[in-house]
């Protein structure tokens, strides 16, 4: 029997207070996610249970019990407080998937500060935009990434501390840098955890939109309620499970389900700090006897491409439950996993703004391959008519995915951008920006985005951000960024570029521009293809018509082009 039991029955009697009760939280009391993820687990008799198993690409392993992570959280919190950092300060985590990342998450929350996780592969421009926007006071990073921070620190007057977790003694520290080596400090047995309330801000994630720079999504400590219960019911984690969430904590999945969900349930989780290869991943599952595996469609499709033969080299019999997130999981991947693992991947749908899983194929529920599943109990999910913003009751008709904004982990705002925040709500619905239809049995079927944002391998990329950065390259006159189909990542970035006079298109220039974007923004934002053109399609008012280029790439009808400048 799964944790959720019957999906239909849980719909009838659902109340979020069930999670509050299980966590021992009473409305009005203090609520601090870090306490629930470490101290509370220890108080419940699991202090010696393993919380974290970490392995790097060389196979070097480290293990931490729940008491270890409790002490590490205290020690880091004390260090941060001694620097003068305090509640509601933004403290950025900018590291690879090393233990200090997970432990610092707890330390930051314990002083009531706000965690700002940023993907360590971000280039200096992406990093600068986000640190400047949040007026971040401190960044915790490692030597490997320090050169990117050093490039921008003088432009960031609010960034007072650059905390290096792996500095070596013979390396001099530079402007505003502080060394912090966890193993060298005396563990702090007890501390006064800052008394955050349910509505105190906890995590500030950044996400891309169609226009403007990345937006900071504000979450609060009360998000724990959603994250705890969805982890328990959707991912079906049980007491003795070994869990592996492959997402990087630079993104929301890596925080909600790579830290908060499993640790609030007192579950052992594994971290692999290594790049992708089918052999490495299967070997990791075999070695640690992973039971529950939460990964992304891109990874699943890459494993499919590696073939079925390699799977026979490994004992993967420990796998009990498989789930996927980040982008729609194609039906072929669901069917393939049933064939090779004897279990289907369960697709889950949610967003940075929702903080927790909204729609899913639940344990025990019939899976329709290619479907997103049904809304989580307590979530009112609909598709809206794009003109009237009224719910569509007709089966199979495409509309905008929307939710009644009343679940615990919904974002509380965009950082310093209330206008954009208000735009997300119409007629009392939260607009996801995605389109779907609903079939007669209530299953949602994903159709695509309702805007120009590109979802590549589960990561949202703003075409505007890439186009703006392309214009900084000396050879680029104009650019338009769209998606193109890709077998593994579903879609990848393609840039159409006109060159300034004096520059000639050639393969070397294409590579130079690709690397320019990779270093400034990130590899995810790097165009996987560049097409040099003499002009871009524009409206008569001069606006670049991305949709014309998009349609061409996807082999779709171009649609209305009466406003096209050169028609």
């Amino acid at each position: 029997m799964s944790n959720i039991g019957s999906y239909e029955k849980s719909l009838e009697s659902f109340n979020w207070s069930e999670a509050e009760y299980e966590l021992g939280y009473k409305v009005g009391e203090t609520l601090n996610i870090a306490w629930y993820c470490s101290d509370r687990v220890c108080l419940n008799g699991k202090s010696e249970n393993t919380a974290l198993i970490y392995e790097d690409y060389c196979g070097i392993e480290k293990k931490y019990s729940f008491n270890d992570i409790r002490l590490a959280g205290n020690t880091i919190a004390t260090f941060l407080m001694n620097l003068g950092l305090k509640n509601e300060d933004r403290i950025c985590l900018y590291m690879d998937r090393i233990p200090e990342l997970y432990l610092s998450f707890l330390g930051i929350l314990k002083i009531g500060a706000i965690v700002q996780p940023l993907f360590s592969a971000f280039g200096d421009e992406s990093l600068f935009i986000r640190l400047e926007n949040a007026k971040t006071r401190a960044i915790i990073t490692q030597r490997k990434h320090i050169h990117k921070v050093r490039k921008i620190i003088k432009k960031l007057p609010y960034l007072e501390f650059v905390i290096l977790v792996d500095n070596v003694k013979d390396k001099p520290l530079e402007f505003r840098e502080v060394a912090f080596i966890l193993e060298e400090l005396e563990p702090v047995e007890s501390m006064d955890i800052f008394p955050t309330s349910a509505e105190s801000p906890s995590v500030l994630h950044y996400t891309s939109g169609t226009t403007g720079q990345a937006k900071g999504v504000i979450h609060v400590h009360y998000s724990l309620i959603s994250q705890y219960l969805t982890t328990k019911w959707v991912l079906d984690l049980c007491d003795d499970d070994i869990y592996w969430c492959t997402a990087d904590p630079g993104w929301v999945t890596g925080i909600s389900y790579g830290i908060i969900g499993p640790w609030s349930l007192g579950i052992t989780q594994c971290i692999l700090d290594a790049g992708f290869s089918a052999k490495t991943w299967y070997s990791f599952i075999e070695k640690y006897r992973i039971n529950v595996w939460y990964t992304a469609p891109t990874a699943i499709r890459s494993l499919m491409m590696a073939g079925d033969e390699i799977i026979k080299e490994f004992d993967l019999s420990s796998l009990r439950y498989l789930a996927s997130v980040g982008e729609p999981l194609n039906s072929e991947a669901v069917i393939w996993s049933e064939k090779v693992f004897g279990k289907s991947f369960h697709d889950t749908f949610w967003q940075t703004e929702t903080g927790s899983i909204m729609i899913s194929n639940f344990p025990g529920m019939k899976i329709k391959p290619g479907s997103m599943g049904k809304p989580f109990p307590g979530i009112t999910g609909v598709v809206l008519d794009p003109k009237t913003f009224e719910p569509i009751n007709e089966n199979g008709r495409i509309g905008l995915i929307a939710f009644k904004p009343d679940w615990p982990s919904i974002m509380r705002g965009y950082w310093n951008n209330d206008e954009k925040f208000q735009e997300k709500f119409v007629n009392g619905w939260y607009l996801s920006g995605d389109k779907a239809s609903i079939d007669k049995e209530g299953y949602f079927w994903f159709v695509g985005r309702d805007d120009d944002v590109i979802n590549t391998g589960g990561h949202l990329v703003s075409p505007f951000e890439v186009e703006s950065t392309l214009l900084e390259h000396p050879a680029v006159g104009e650019s338009a960024v769209v998606s193109k189909p890709d077998q593994v990542n579903m879609e990848v970035i393609k840039a159409f570029i006109t060159l300034k006079p004096g520059f000639i298109s050639c393969p070397e220039l294409e590579l130079e521009i690709m690397n320019f974007i990779r270093k400034k923004l990130s590899a995810i934002a790097m165009p996987q293809e560049i097409e040099f053109v003499t002009s871009l399609p524009k409206t008569r008012s001069g606006k670049i018509m991305r949709r014309v280029l998009h349609a061409k790439e996807w082999g779709e009808e171009i649609g209305e082009i009466s406003t096209l400048e050169n028609e």
Partner: protein, 86 residues
């Protein structure tokens, strides 16, 4: 390109990887260092490495052969490249 030795090719690829992908000046990589599984080159960046190889060695590598496994070290890359050299 047909006159280029394997050692010369390895050095060209190694220097390119160091220049473009190594963030920490203290880190040393060798011809056998795992580039993909070691996290030096991610799957999205592989495309730029592929474009570099195709430009530099005047070859065309089919997408099906440009796998994370085939790109996982300088030595493996050079084995792959040499298959497509005329």
């Amino acid at each position: 390109m047909e006159n280029m030795s394997l050692e010369e090719m390895k050095l060209i690829v190694l220097n390119y990887v160091i220049k473009e992908f190594l963030d920490d000046e203290d880190e040393n990589i060798t011809y056998d260092t795992p580039l993909i599984s070691g996290g030096y080159v991610d799957s999205f960046s592989m495309v730029s490495l592929l474009v570099f190889l195709e430009n530099k060695f005047k070859i065309k590598i089919p997408p099906s052969k440009a796998t994370p496994e085939a790109f996982d070290s300088v030595n493996k890359i050079v084995v792959l490249v040499s298959q497509y050299l005329k």
